[in-house]
């Protein structure tokens, strides 16, 4: 192994979803710890992890119950990002873990936190880690006891890195946790929720205009809720719009508990797909599908970019799905020499379509130990898109495309190509 290992999309298409190579399975090999694999190793270090996501509930504070190594990055990130006054730590040592004695302290810690602050928090989020996963801690029982003790709403967030390859990985389960405090309310026909991200969707997206054209007067996102009362009003939604499939579990829970149904429309950078999706959405909610001007505006930027005819390298640490973005770029007529991504049965349909257009596009895994030997001169790359791709290509033009504000729809495509055209 003195080359970075990869498979081409052509090869992957031949293997099929039932024979995904071990290269792409994190449980099949050691995991390389590089800046490009940071999103896997610690989502919080480059955006939202369980801890920061748990604090999406406005006015909430978090009690992190963990060994020291789990909490350290939280303090340091929170100092940088300005939410250091919302974290509390109950640090465990080996005796605590073996005896379980720390669990008795949690409700009392919640009471102390509630009493200590000048302004009472709206909720206490108790974040538990792999330690509690392995101990089989009944976090819900701790939550109930803590609520009784401190008189505030309490919810559990599970930072269970052990379960990252399961059907309920941490970033899916925390989405359920942050909405778990909502209580049933009388629903309003002209209010909806947008679920999917912990940071706001770009308001310049035509999605909002389309929704408003259907008579929707209030569109709530947890990241835009100014206070806890606005958060609680999310329970009034007529329906939820799910923009990222990681939120489906939370949306299912809201449907069961609060009776709020949901529609899933997943982000894509293919303008024809966006158009079709909007037409379906408009037909479902009675909106007007007047999207031609947005379509044209995005298309115009794409055409400008084609004049330079760059070759792209696409990463997976960005505001896009690596395979969707690659397929979109290929369909627009661009070349993509490589993808840093994780093939799975969920994106195999796209891999097959990519293979039909560009069977030689290489697919690397950021987690592979062989990435130590990645040589940027192996593959042509004029523009790298994504934090990981940009890490590998020091000589190429870079578009990180990883801002906190989430691009969506035609506006997202237009902005991406505006950035490409500005290089």
């Amino acid at each position: 192994m003195n080359n970075a290992e990869y498979f081409t999309t052509g090869c992957l298409a031949e293997y099929g979803p039932d024979m995904i190579p071990d290269l792409y399975k994190s449980a099949s090999h050691l995991i390389y710890s590089s800046p490009a694999s940071l999103a896997f190793n610690s989502p919080g270090a480059s955006g939202f992890g369980v801890k920061r996501a748990g604090l999406s509930v406005p006015g909430s504070v978090m009690l992190l119950v963990s060994p020291g190594c789990c909490g350290r990055n939280t303090t340091l990130e929170s100092v940088r990002d300005g939410y250091s006054d919302r974290f509390y730590f109950l640090e465990l040592d080996d005796t605590d873990i073996i005896t379980g004695r720390y669990q008795e302290k949690i409700p009392r810690a919640c009471r102390e936190i509630a009493g200590q602050r000048d302004e009472k928090p709206s909720a206490v989020m108790i974040c538990v880690t792999c330690v509690d996963a392995l101990l089989g801690t009944d976090a819900e029982a701790l939550v109930k006891e803590s609520e009784n003790e401190c008189g505030l709403p309490v919810a559990a967030c599970y930072m269970y890195a052990l379960t990252r390859d399961s059907t309920l990985p941490p970033m899916v389960s925390v989405r359920k946790s942050v909405y778990s405090l909502l209580k049933k309310k009388e629903r309003r026909p002209d209010e909806i929720n947008i679920l999917g991200y912990f940071s706001p969707v770009d308001r310049s997206s035509e999605l909002f205009e389309i929704l408003e054209s259907a008579g929707i007067k209030k569109i709530r996102e947890i990241s835009r809720c100014k206070d806890i009362s606005e958060y609680y009003d999310m329970a009034r939604a007529n329906f939820s719009l799910v923009l990222d499939s990681s939120s489906n579990y939370a949306a299912d829970d809201m449907m069961k508990r609060l009776g709020i149904p949901y529609i899933e429309i997943v982000r894509t950078y293919d303008i024809d797909k966006i158009d079709k999706t909007y037409r379906s959405l408009c037909s479902a909610i009675g909106a007007k599908a007047e999207t031609e001007k947005y379509y044209s505006s995005a298309k115009s930027e794409i055409e400008k970019a084609k004049r330079k005819n760059p070759v792209f390298s696409v990463g997976e640490t960005l505001n896009a799905d690596a395979f969707d973005l690659t397929l979109s770029l290929l369909r627009y007529g661009f070349k993509v020499s490589e993808i840093f991504g994780t093939p799975s049965k969920y994106n195999y349909g796209m891999i097959k379509k990519i293979a039909a257009i560009s069977p030689d596009t290489k697919v690397y895994s950021n987690l592979s130990p062989s990435m130590l030997f990645y040589d940027e001169n192996e593959n042509k790359c004029d523009i790298s898109v994504g934090k990981d791709a940009s890490y590998y290509h020091s000589n190429a033009e870079k578009i990180l495309w990883a801002d906190e504000i989430q691009p969506f729809g035609f506006a997202g495509v237009r902005k991406l190509f505006e950035e490409i055209n500005s290089l």
């Binding site: 003195n2 050691l30 190793n41 789990c70 100092v79 640090e91 040592d93």
Partner: protein, 384 residues
């Protein structure tokens, strides 16, 4: 013991200490963990991480493997990767999960070494001790394995090894350069620095030196081993200030192990306190007294030898203890992240360290082995 922190940070863990000590040596280091412990180290405790490659991995322990005790998977993954990367050595260190399931790291290392033929170290970390523990074990094991015999003929130079150096305490190579300059000023020469700017051959030549300088507490165990095996004396300390630096130089040349941390400042209780790693803080405290006749207490929240501490010093493990101690002082010299627990009537002087605040204040960490930086700090400490 339960430690809580409502405001302050937590020191880098033992896993970070091991990883940092081994970073430059060409070995394959694996943290046996689901994920998370490795990224805390790489993003906060390792300033070198983005600048050059290191064979640093996480085992990716899954729930099923943890419960079923699938050690074979770790060994196979290690063997597969090591056979292809051909590292100088393999190092496996633990995190809370393997500790909980009673993973036998010595057995893992034995099996891996048998399979690969590559020297494999087991480090008994668990993510719940501080980085000094991890570094200490790493330095000790490295000298035990690689520092086997003297090589060279007497060179005429008085050679000194620096033991216990990682960016967690030393921040960057310029600090090592300052120590090298200190040695040269006192007609000594840097032989090897364990382990910044260091490769395996540099560890192999450690026995060729005349003395060892432990620049953090983590280097002392290795120094004691070298003292027993090769008769090399050692001194613990950093060359801060003029007079303390002279004492340190004399101690190195003395041929004896000398504890330079005289904690007797006469009667009365100091009104300055310094918090941080023990060798660093005690060196600063000693330098303040030797050069300026200013007494100070030290709070050490990390592993240390209680014999280093005097009656006015404190070994602590909890934020509440620290808060109570600070009430007794008028000036506190500590990392910026301690500021919220410093009482209003106690003047705060910033002295960040990677071990506590990571890279948050990297640009503000002074090199106190340099005269100008030391004098600037002293000015801040004594100004009213």
């Amino acid at each position: 013991m339960l430690r809580h922190a409502s405001i302050t940070s937590i020191y880098a863990a033992d896993t970070s200490g091991v990883a940092s000590a081994l970073f430059e040596l060409g070995g394959l280091t694996v943290i046996h963990d689901p994920s998370g412990c490795n990224s805390t180290y790489t993003t906060h405790d390792e300033p070198r991480w983005a600048d050059f490659d290191s064979m640093f991995y996480v085992s990716g322990l899954t729930e099923k493997d943890a419960i079923m005790g699938n050690d074979e998977k770790v060994i196979s993954d290690l063997a597969y990767t090591a056979e292809r990367l051909n590292p100088e050595f393999i190092a496996i260190c633990g995190s809370p999960m393997p500790m909980m399931v009673g993973t036998d790291f010595d057995a893992l290392a034995y099996e891996t070494e048998k399979r690969t033929g590559i020297k494999t170290f087991a480090f008994h970390t668990n993510g719940m001790n501080d980085y000094i523990s991890g570094e200490e074990e790493a330095f000790y094991e490295l000298v035990k394995y690689y520092s086997i015999e003297k090589h060279s003929e007497e060179s005429g130079d008085f050679l000194v090894n620096v033991i216990g150096a990682t960016p967690i305490d030393m921040t960057d190579y310029s600090h090592i350069k300052s120590i090298s300059d200190f040695l040269e000023k006192h007609k000594m020469k840097l032989n090897s620095c364990l382990s910044m700017g260091c490769k395996i051959p540099d560890i192999e030549k450690i026995p060729d030196a005349d003395a060892n300088l432990a620049v953090s507490y983590s280097g002392i165990k290795a120094c004691e081993y070298l003292n027993k095996k090769f008769g090399q004396n050692y001194a613990a300390g950093l060359p801060f200030g003029e007079k303390f630096s002279e004492k340190l130089a004399d101690a190195l040349k003395s041929g004896k192990n000398i504890n330079l941390f005289n904690r007797d400042f006469g009667s009365g209780f100091p009104d300055i306190v310094i918090e941080g790693e023990s060798v660093f803080s005690l060196s600063l405290s000693s330098a303040l007294y030797d050069d300026f006749n200013i007494g100070s207490s030290v709070i050490c929240p990390l592993k240390t030898d209680k014999n280093f501490l005097g009656k006015n010093d404190f070994s602590v493990s909890d934020e509440n203890e620290e808060k109570k101690i600070y009430k007794n002082f008028k000036t506190a010299v500590a990392d910026n992240l301690y500021k919220p627990i410093i009482p209003k009537n106690c003047r705060f002087v910033s002295l960040p360290s990677v071990g506590f605040s990571g890279r948050c204040f990297l640009g503000q960490i002074p090199d106190l082995s340099r005269k100008s930086d030391f004098q600037n700090l002293v000015k801040k400490i004594i100004s009213k």
